[in-house]
């Protein structure tokens, strides 16, 4: 054991899966050995998630052959996949927050004594499992909502390990973890590997892959581009393979023409979320808004656009007081907010690309009670070609598009009304490099047309590269601002932690 390639845990031969209108996975060969961490990378829409769903037994209509430990199986339902020793750990945790750790970990096979749950056995078993992931200090009876995000992620792994899997699939397991927590997770992955588990590791973060993986498979457009030993490749090569072209200039420098003041916030407060926040943003400017989680960035954005109330303070738009009571009125004045939560608050996934992209135009295109769709087509064509939405067909259901293209549709909803002030909350979260570049270009174009953009982003390279000026929030207060040339990733992060040198506005 511990030896790489001691045997094929999983081999998929020429598997394909079709959604209506797209061949999401197209004749892919993929294999993982016991005792190996095999990274799977690709842009959004490359087919990674579909391939993993196939392994998890989500589809009964895939074609091709899947073998587990050399034996052919038909993974047509999640329970069959589980029986074959496949366990998934998803990006979004699947724990019931109000239940205890023990109940979550042992869900589906709680030890019983007669008809009652055997609490003692439950606690003991849970403790055993928590030990495997280095959480022996936790009380198994504690509700999951009281433990940290990182511990919850490990509890999720403990839960998966309970079924003695031979293949463990991890989909972006580090997206919610801090740097030290990530390192701890990797130690656990290393030890699981030594125990002979086959691990499939999906991530957008290339450094993580070089830290943890033995081999890496790159996918693009539903096909396998290649599989490489990790020593054979470097980050640049992987990006090239994923995107299909060389990425020489990722962030172009842009010339900014700052106009007059577009929006001014004066002593804004929403009790319990942010307090006494004042700032301004000028026409043509991209203002970065940074802060750690819980600093009140999104809440500020939501209040400015009228989604949430403001308790104190005033907003001025082009020198005039903005007295909006709700989002509709703010939109009419020209202030829009792109939500950070694409799936739950951003898009109607069941509707088409066209219906979503034009959703904000409905009031504008209604005259004398009736909606006039005569301008729809040119607007849609322009949006789809500007943002390179793929497939370029407005009648496609948004839910069937890849994450990156969904995000483009979400952005196009606001671009369609060319707002004077657009607040973007994490506009490229979970989006691949290709889509990211297109979204950045679209944002720069909007600013270039004399509109103001407020960019909220946790992606420091993005924030630093895009912003003309950065303001920092910390614990609900706006604590400082830095001009172009004065900030870099490090100074912004330090400032958000309340350290380092920056211009204090107060």
């Amino acid at each position: 054991m511990g030896e790489n390639k001691s045997g094929l845990a999983l081999s998929m031969n020429h598997v394909s899966k079709r959604y209506p209108g797209t061949l999401a996975v197209d004749g892919v060969d993929f294999e993982v050995c016991s005792g190996e961490v095999h990274a799977l990378i690709g842009e959004n829409g490359a087919g990674k998630s579909t391939l993993m769903k196939m392994i998890a037994g989500s589809f009964s209509d895939y074609t091709g052959e899947i073998c587990i430990n050399g034996k052919e199986v038909r993974l047509s339902s999640p329970s069959i996949a589980k029986e074959n020793g496949i366990e998934m750990i998803y990006q979004e945790l699947s724990l019931a927050l109000s239940l205890s750790i023990a109940e979550n970990v042992l869900v589906g096979n709680l030890p019983t004594k007669g008809i009652f749950v055997d609490r003692k056995a439950m606690v003991e078993r849970t403790r055993d499992r928590l030990k495997r992931v280095g959480l022996e200090h936790l009380d198994p009876l504690m509700p999951v909502k009281d433990i940290s995000q990182h511990e919850a992620q490990l509890v999720e792994i403990a839960k998966a390990l309970g079924n003695n899997p031979c293949i463990l699939v991890m989909d972006e397991p580090t997206s919610a973890l801090s740097r030290e927590e990530v390192e701890r997770l990797f130690k656990i992955i290393d030890s699981l590997k030594k125990q002979g588990l086959a691990i499939i590791y999906i991530s957008h973060h290339l450094p993580e892959i070089f830290r943890v993986a033995d081999r890496v498979t790159v996918m693009r457009d539903g096909k396998r581009v290649g599989t490489y030993e990790i020593e054979e490749v470097n980050a640049g090569k992987l990006v090239e393979l994923m995107v299909g072209r060389s990425v020489s200039e990722f962030y172009s420098s842009r010339s900014t023409h700052l106009g007059e003041e577009m929006l001014r916030a004066e002593h804004l407060s929403r009790y319990g979320f942010f307090h006494d926040v004042s700032f301004n943003v000028r026409a043509g400017e991209i203002l970065g808004l940074y802060g750690l989680a819980g600093a009140g960035r999104s809440e500020l954005g939501r209040s400015i656009c009228g989604a949430d109330p403001i308790d104190e303070g005033e907003i001025h738009l082009k020198g005039q007081k903005l007295a909006h009571k709700n989002m509709g009125q703010a939109l009419e004045a020209g202030v829009a907010y792109l939500t950070e939560n694409r799936k739950t608050q951003g898009l109607a996934l069941r509707l088409t690309v066209g219906e979503n992209a034009l959703a904000a135009l409905i009031p504008k295109h209604t005259k004398n009670f009736f909606y006039s769709g005569k301008d729809d087509k040119p607007v849609l064509d322009r949006l789809i070609s500007d943002l390179q939405i793929y497939p370029p067909d407005p009648s496609r259901t948004v839910g069937n598009l890849s994450g990156g293209n969904q995000q483009k549709v979400l952005l196009s909803k606001w671009l369609s009304i060319s707002p004077k002030v657009l607040i973007l909350d994490e506009p490229t979260r979970g989006v691949d490099i290709g889509a990211k570049m297109i979204i950045h270009q679209a944002i720069e174009k909007l600013a270039g047309q004399g509109n103001a953009v407020i960019l909220i982003s946790s992606d420091l390279p993005e924030l630093v590269a895009m912003s003309d000026r950065v303001v920092i929030m910390r614990k609900g207060h706006l604590i400082g601002e830095m001009n172009k040339g004065e900030f870099n990733e490090e100074t912004v992060l330090l400032a958000a932690n309340g350290e380092g040198g920056f211009v204090n506005v107060n």
Partner: protein, 340 residues
């Protein structure tokens, strides 16, 4: 190159397939209508006659008027209005009570009575975000009790209430009179309601935003849609058409009573779902709902012709409802819409 060609060809074919599926979801109910007509023609020679078809349409006219209204609620993702029966009873009984002031006042007051319940529903569900099923069920209970208390459990009769006024006779005739020769008034009203409903749903800001709400409430809200007002309006419109249906029903029964309208809630939802509206919301249209109403009418008619009793008919309708909801959910899942 060749593989690329092939995959675009496949792409196009499956996109055509998806469009066909969508079309089937929209108007597929009319296939069922045709199927029932063919079946009815086979089993009875009394079936395919003008008078029998007039019977069928007249029998479902009230359901059609009610279902189109309720379909606004379904379309918005708020399932259905369980206070439909009590709105019908209330509007009818108030109209009968007011018949002594003339037929116009009687009808207007009847609609106003139903509308008042709709306004309360609109506020509590649209603004306060109460669960639509639980709330409208509660309203149904309270109002049912209220009507029985107010009238001491009695029924009231238009001919008695009119005190010799001619309006009493007109009221009873509302459901029996023909316009333009031999077109029953009820049927005319039903078609008007369907046409207005179809236009509202597909051609106006209200309808388009209602679709957005039904597809994703939160997303609609974050797109600046005034969700409370739009959802409220759906409940108000529903109460108006339901009141119109209630007045016709009361006229047909020649009696205003608390039990008028029983079963219309469930029948309306069956017709709506048959007509291609998913209970998840945001899908379907009024013409489809009309198809659902026709299907139910044909079904009843055929079952009566072959001698199935009313109780068994209810069982059959219930089973059909379950099957339709099941097929509906499954076909949506096939299209890759897990959330439906």
């Amino acid at each position: 190159m060749s593989t690329e060609n092939m995959s675009t060809k496949l792409d196009r074919r499956s996109s055509k397939h998806a469009k066909w599926n969508l079309w089937l979801n929209k108007f597929g109910v009319y296939f069922m209508v045709i199927l029932f007509i063919a079946f009815g023609t086979l089993i009875s020679d009394k079936f395919l006659t003008v008078s029998n078809f007039m019977n069928i349409i007249q029998a479902v006219a009230m359901l059609g008027i009610v279902a189109v209204g309720v379909s606004f609620i379904t379309y918005s993702g708020h399932f259905a209005d369980m206070s439909v029966p009590v709105i019908m009873a209330f509007s009818g009984i108030i109209a009968v009570g007011a018949v002594k002031y003339g037929i116009v006042i009687s009808i207007l007051l009847g609609i106003a009575a139903g509308l008042s319940i709709g306004l309360v529903n609109a506020f509590v569900i649209g603004k306060l975000r109460a669960n639509p099923i639980i709330w409208t069920l509660a309203v149904a209970f309270v109002m049912n009790g209220f009507i029985r208390w107010a009238y001491s459990g009695n029924q009231i009769y238009p001919d008695v209430e009119s005190k010799g006024n001619v309006a009493g006779q007109i009221f009873v005739n509302l459901s029996r009179m023909n316009v333009f020769g031999s077109l029953p008034l009820m049927v005319l009203v039903m078609f008007i309601v369907v046409i207005i409903g179809q236009i509202l749903l597909t051609k106006t800001k209200f309808g388009l935003q209602l679709k957005l709400i039904g597809s994703n409430y939160e997303a609609a809200k974050m797109t600046g849609v005034n969700v409370s007002r739009t959802v409220g309006l759906a409940f108000i419109l529903s109460s108006v058409t339901t009141s119109i249906g209630g007045i016709f029903l009361t006229s047909l029964a020649k009696v205003g009573a608390y039990y008028n309208g029983i079963g219309y809630d469930f029948n309306a939802v069956t017709a709506i779902v048959l007509g291609g509206m998913t209970l998840a919301g945001g899908r379907g249209n009024a013409i489809g709902v009309l198809g659902g109403v026709f299907t139910l009418g044909l079904l009843s008619n055929i079952m009566t012709l072959i001698g199935v009793d009313t109780f068994s008919q209810a069982i059959v309708k219930g089973i059909i409802f379950i099957i339709v909801v099941g097929i509906n959910a499954k076909s949506l899942r096939k299209l890759g819409r897990d959330d439906a």
